[in-house]
């Protein structure tokens, strides 16, 4: 008998009978599978099958003290079947949009799991509306597998040895990382982890990981603990001027009238009028953004920021042949 067929037969049997089924009964039901050879070898075979069913996520349990029944194995129906989450059509559509876009991007960790989850949830919907949602994520040919392996390494707390290429460094560096979290910002996946080389938390762009190896020794034994106060959001900037390139600098901007209601969306800081104060840790990134707004954002203070802005303008002017 095909192994998958046997596993499905077992599942059907357990779901059909709500009383525990002993191994001896299983031997009678499947004589050619568990009834031949020694009892020990048959039991080992069943244990392997049981492990596969557990791996598939089935709630197979052994009940040693079942009231009025002989001890045995059982899958409780209320533990097995997915209940209808009662999502409205619009909620289902929203979830599907996000899930489908994530899958179509080709750069989502746990893509197989997400696909199965969507199929299960879709069972409770009628027609699933297919909202057009396209997600463009920075990736290399190996990003999909890398993300999937990093996702698993984070969940299982296994160290990762990797070769990482930063365009700001001359050489590829070899690092051992305790992977702690993944975050996506502006279409790029970031890995946050404790770097054994730098002895500190570091952020890495996943598409710049050239090769990696997840520690497979003692696969079920975690290699490290996650710090109790760790939160990935605190380590990955939403805006480029939040990267920690220097000490925090207080800066004052003057916004044109039409940009005032957009200040939160565009700059991450809110202001009721034209003057906006914010603290940045990568001044150049903010100044470049202000320049791209072609005069709609002026730098007002401090003087050092105004001077740096002028330097940048001069560099652009010189490169494009502006005479004065």
């Amino acid at each position: 008998m095909d192994k998958t067929e046997r596993l499905l037969d077992l599942t059907a049997l357990f779901l059909d009978s709500q009383n525990p089924i002993s191994f001896e009964e299983l031997q009678k039901v499947f004589p050619s599978e568990y009834g031949t050879g020694s009892k020990e070898s048959a039991l080992r075979k069943f244990e392997r099958d049981k492990a596969e069913l557990l791996e598939a996520g089935l709630p197979l349990e052994y009940e040693s003290r079942a009231a009025g029944h002989t001890p045995g194995y059982v899958i409780r129906r209320d533990e097995y079947y997915l209940k209808d989450p009662g999502l409205r059509a619009d909620e289902m559509a929203l979830l599907y949009s996000a899930g489908s876009a994530a899958l179509a991007s080709g750069a989502f960790p746990a893509a197989d799991e997400l696909k199965r989850a969507l199929q299960k949830i879709a069972f409770f919907g009628d027609e699933i509306p297919r909202t057009k949602l396209q997600l463009d994520i920075a990736r290399s040919p190996m990003t999909k597998h890398t993300l999937s392996d990093l996702w698993a390494a984070i969940a299982r707390r296994k160290t990762v040895d990797m070769k990482y290429h930063s365009p700001h460094a001359a050489k590829v560096s070899s690092r051992r990382i305790n992977p702690l979290g993944l975050a996506m910002r502006r279409g790029q996946w970031n890995l946050v982890g404790y770097c054994h080389l730098r002895k500190a938390l570091r952020t890495f762009l996943v598409h710049r990981i050239q090769s990696y190896e997840v520690n497979t020794l003692n696969a079920k034994q975690p290699d490290f603990e996650v710090p109790t106060d760790f939160n990935v959001t605190a380590h990955v900037a939403h805006f480029p001027w939040e990267f920690k390139m220097h000490e925090p600098v207080q800066i004052t901007l003057l916004l044109s009238e039409e940009l005032i209601p957009l200040s939160k969306q565009l700059l991450g800081a809110e202001s009721a009028d034209a003057e906006l104060e914010m603290t940045v840790t990568d001044l150049d990134s903010l100044l470049k953004f202000c320049l791209s707004m072609t005069g709609r954002i002026q730098v007002h203070a401090p003087v050092s920021a105004v001077r740096r802005m002028t330097q940048m303008k001069k560099a652009i002017a010189k490169a494009h042949g502006v005479k004065s």
Partner: protein
């Protein structure tokens, strides 16, 4: 490997049982396998059953005229519960549209969590500290997607950076696109009576209007913020930025150790000027002349 196949088949029977008579090609596509592989799986399922394995004890599944039917599902009438990994993947995807981060949007996620296995519920808090896909535009994104699904027009105030305009727009939205770190909604602009692309972070007071619309055919999807492929523009990047831009533009010309030249498509002098200014002097337009003039003019006016 067997466990993966078991998961797939336990999902498949209820889906086929609920929706009878689906084309084999449709089902194969939905579950991500080829037609031949699906037919092999259906053959296998015909042999699955419960003791004493009399004819009525087997899953009765068959293909007729290219369509799949299930007569007896043998207790496989509903999909199995989500596994812990499936639940976590679903939450991560939901995060992208802010179902987790914004209090007013939590209802959907709360409903899902109620059907999660116990261990997944326990892992949720840890996961929210370890995976973050949130954007700062959650509410607007959600409004756009809901409007597309319900075919209701959107209204918003829009600051068009390339035209110096700040206008009220009503748009029949057709698609939401994420490109180079920005979210866009594409749709038929009622004011311009044409298909337009809007950057969502430049829209304020974005909400669904009372105006329903119908999608009449599928117009061509715009792949980015370029409406007419007017011209190719050559741009030189120098210094450390050159190394970074190599990733973004895999096709480029090297110009010495620290310089690269890339070609981009652009159709608007204002757009190209904004783009180049945003590199703070580390990018230079080489040609054509209209693009060089556009940057020069922008700098002179600042």
């Amino acid at each position: 490997v067997s466990s993966e196949r078991v998961k797939r088949l336990l999902n498949l029977i209820p889906l086929l049982s609920k929706k009878q008579g689906q084309r084999v090609e449709t089902v194969a596509k939905a579950i991500g396998v080829g037609v031949d592989e699906l037919l092999t799986e259906i053959d296998l399922l015909t042999m699955v059953g419960v003791p004493p394995f009399s004819p009525d004890d087997f899953v009765e599944i068959y293909v007729e005229d290219g369509c799949v039917f299930v007569q007896l599902d043998q207790r496989f009438s509903l999909p199995p519960k989500l596994t812990q990994d499936e639940a976590m993947a679903l939450v991560a995807a939901a995060q992208m549209l802010g179902l987790q981060k914004e209090p007013s949007l939590n209802e959907t996620l709360e409903k899902l969590v109620k059907v999660f296995p116990k261990e997944a519920r326990r892992s949720l808090e840890t996961m929210s500290r370890q995976v973050d896909l949130s954007t700062d535009l959650n509410a607007s994104l959600r409004a756009c997607i809901e409007a597309i699904d319900s075919q209701i027009a959107l209204s918003f105030d829009y600051v068009a950076l390339t035209t110096d305009e700040s206008t009220k727009r009503t748009v029949s939205p057709l698609e939401v696109i994420h490109r180079h770190g920005y979210w866009y909604v594409s749709g038929q602009c009622h004011e311009r009576q044409a298909r337009r692309l809007f950057r969502i972070d430049l829209a304020t007071h974005l909400k669904k209007s009372n105006e329903a619309f119908q999608v009449l055919g599928q117009s061509k999807t715009q792949s980015g913020p370029v409406k007419n492929r007017r011209s190719r523009v050559e741009v030189c990047f120098s210094g450390p930025l050159a190394q970074v831009m190599k990733e973004r533009f895999p096709i480029h010309k090297k110009l010495g150790a620290q310089k690269i030249v890339v070609e981009i498509e652009a159709d608007s002098p204002k757009w190209i000027a904004q783009w180049i200014l945003g590199f703070g002097g580390e990018a230079t337009v080489l040609k054509p002349a209209w693009a060089v003039r556009a940057v020069r003019r922008a700098v002179e006016m600042m």
